[in-house]
Symmetry: C2
Subunit: 202 residues, 2 copies
DNA sequence: ATTATTCTCTACCGATCAGTACGGAATTGT
DNA sequence: ACAATTCCGTACTGATCGGTAGAGAATAAT
């Protein structure tokens, strides 16, 4: 009942996401948001509650849109998984249709103390992302897909930092091709059980 | 002539550096600065000109303090250079006495449009940093210190993104030990001419 | 001692920040 | 038609933003 909303909240979140993605949480003002979304402040607050709540909704959308992390989980081997992750990151952040960089990194890497809750939420999500990688690699090790000496925690950290680095370089204007070449390089000495097995078999 | 300044500008810049390092450019207000530096606004402006100018001075100081990049240039081989860079980054950003992260990355990775000059200056300095690495690796290649197939530009990009990734992970609270282990991992498949030579000799 | 210079201080500037009070307009169920 | 409900637009709140005017205090050269 009552008057129906005149704008599409999903599309509004998508537009807000791009804005936060470009300018970060603190760098995006309510005026920026209302102008980009084409709505007024009271409408924004009625629909989303607060700037912070809108940011979190935008972040959720970002994580589904930047879905290469989840898609990579379908890869059959640890190597294919690592490859899917790194190439996915290079593809996403090398796409000139997207804002440069990663919302999860540059949304609020450093910020004023009053935005600390956002900074901590982003750090928390990064930890979750790394934990997901670690779990996948643990499984790979159990499945004999990683050499005995390989530490899933270390490898997950390694993949994470390469992805972060790719996003930082993308924020500085790197091309997709450059990001792809670095992804390839980072994969070159990925520990493959198949290599070991081949050595053992030989 | 005239009344002498009552505070030490060098110490003030050092304090400002730590503040910008923790909170980024936009996240650090003039009130934060004057309180931390123990001076008033007009004193700050008389001494440094503007918030932006003070940030740039702080950035210069940061680059000399975080001197592992320059120190690494003294390493005799490409491998030793890469090792010095990555271990230097892990040491610096794993030091709990320093603010977490890297001023050059989180100072203004994403920001409001009115701070774009700062964002671009940081991106420019990151490019210079990478160019320095690239030049050192080019020399290494000429000196036969890298295999024929290795591309100094790609390797420089790789080292850069690993360093960036380390800083992002440090910003999220990683320990020095964790950063050191990832630096070690990133070095494991560094292309060494000595390896190739050994292969060739064999 | 005087004068010029430069600092430091209080108090302020206009602009912008995130967030909201309130009245009128539009749509619902009855 | 009517009442209830919800939305939208104008206009505002107090707080904070970066930056500064102007006066007084301290030091230098003369």
């Amino acid at each position: 009942m009552g008057r129906p909303r005149e704008f599409d909240t999903e599309k509004a979140i998508a537009r807000a996401m791009r804005l936060f993605w470009s300018q970060g949480y603190e760098g995006t003002s309510l005026t920026d948001l209302t102008e980009e979304l084409g709505i007024t402040r009271p409408s924004l607050y009625a629909a989303f509650g607060s700037k912070e709540a809108l940011f979190l909704k935008a972040l959720d959308l970002y994580e589904t849109r930047a879905g290469y992390r989840e898609a990579a989980l379908a890869a059959p081997t640890a190597y294919a998984y690592a490859q899917a992750l790194l190439e996915g990151a290079a593809d996403l952040h090398g796409d000139k249709n997207n804002p440069p960089g990663c919302l999860g990194v540059q949304g609020a890497l450093a910020c004023a103390p009053q935005s600390n809750s956002i900074r901590e939420e982003l750090a928390r999500r990064r930890r979750v992302g790394e934990a997901t990688i670690r779990d996948r690699l643990k499984r790979a090790k159990i499945e004999g897909d990683l050499p005995a000496g390989a530490d899933p925690a270390d490898l997950a950290r390694y993949l994470s930092i390469v992805i972060y680095g790719i996003t930082v370089q993308a924020a500085g204007g790197a091309t997709r091709k450059e990001l792809q070449s670095v992804a390839k390089l980072a994969l070159q000495n990925w520990p493959r059980a198949s290599n070991l097995k081949r050595k053992r078999d030989a």
